[in-house]
């Protein structure tokens, strides 16, 4: 097994999982700070337990699905997942929609939870459910990313990438006790959108018997194609955003 085989799955899983871990951490931090760490940690551990249970139940079933069928289904889901991220990233980079901001997400959760910190030591149902929901939702995305990027016998490198991302984010979260606003999340999401769209397209091809020139190496070509397409999209979006801003100014 060489780096050219392991690298794409490991890097894609690391980057995509990092985004999900950062988003989960923001909500758990808000819950812990506002409603107390006991509730935040109960919700977090319950969420992790549910995810582990789901992987234990459904994971072995994946081995029984024929490889080509699995690649096709995973590819379709991954393409839809990745292209959704990429579309949003392009519209963000083009100024059409606002950038994702962890500080704003933290503030939104803080307001939702009642605003003022009271750090209760007793269990708080709303706080437990808020942390639980964040961990399960973002965690499901991580599980999906690992399965999807590791669908070609690369589950171990993909899992290692996700695990490394989790360790990095949790360590940073414990160290600084604030949302990780310095992680360039919008750039990361853009890159991940490109990578996941490329993986999804590749798996659909593999699963439906398409021929890829250069076989596995064509993943790089696919990523380059979607990067160029998305940059064209950004440039057009910037142009139309400027035009509508000028029109608004003229009308005002």
């Amino acid at each position: 097994m060489t780096w050219t085989h392991v690298g794409p799955a490991l890097i894609a899983s690391f980057l995509a999982s990092m985004v999900e871990f950062v988003e989960a951490l923001t909500i758990v931090l808000a819950v812990g700070t506002i409603r107390g760490w006991k509730s935040a940690l109960y919700g977090t551990f319950a969420g992790v337990a549910l995810l582990v249970l789901m992987v234990a139940i459904f994971g072995p079933a994946l081995n029984r699905v024929p490889l080509h069928d699995l690649q096709l289904v995973i590819g379709i889901l991954l393409l839809l997942f990745g292209i959704r991220w990429l579309r949003k990233a392009v519209l963000r980079a083009g100024g059409k929609i606002s950038l994702h901001d962890e500080a704003a997400a933290y503030e939104k959760t803080r307001v939702k939870l009642g605003g003022v910190a009271h750090g209760s030591s007793s269990l708080d149902g709303v706080a437990v459910i808020t942390a639980f929901k964040a961990v399960v939702l973002e965690g499901l995305e991580v599980v999906f990313i690992v399965i999807a990027t590791g669908a070609n016998g690369m589950l171990i490198p993909a899992s290692a990438g996700a695990l490394a991302a989790g360790i990095v984010v949790i360590t940073l979260g414990i160290a600084i006790h604030k949302p990780l606003t310095r992680i360039p999340e919008n750039t990361l999401k853009y890159a991940v959108g490109v990578i996941l769209t490329a993986f999804g397209t590749f798996w659909i091809g593999e699963g439906s018997g398409m021929v890829w020139p250069g076989r596995d190496e064509s993943l790089l070509g696919l990523a380059a194609l979607f990067l160029v397409a998305s940059l064209i999209g950004v440039s057009i979006t910037r142009g139309s955003t400027k035009v509508s801003a000028t029109e608004t100014e003229a009308a005002g």
Binding site: T197, T201, S208, A229
Partner: protein
């Protein structure tokens, strides 16, 4: 029941944001992965053709969204 439908909505939301983008992608998958597989002259080019089509679908959707 409400929690289940909310969870289902959240799950679908992972894959579908703009309905037209998802529909266009799935239609293109069906055409190239299954339809063109039966056409021998195109068969060897299905991979690159499929990828370029997905790129075009993305750009078209972004342009349409930007103009909304």
């Amino acid at each position: 029941m409400n929690a289940i439908s909310e969870a289902l909505k959240e799950f679908i939301g992972l894959f579908v944001d703009d309905g037209s983008l998802a529909i266009a992608s799935v239609v293109w998958i069906v055409i190239v992965a299954f339809g063109l597989a039966r056409v021998p002259t195109v068969s060897a080019w299905r991979g690159p053709l499929f990828a370029v089509g997905i790129a075009v679908i993305l750009v078209e959707n972004v342009v349409r969204s930007a103009r909304r």
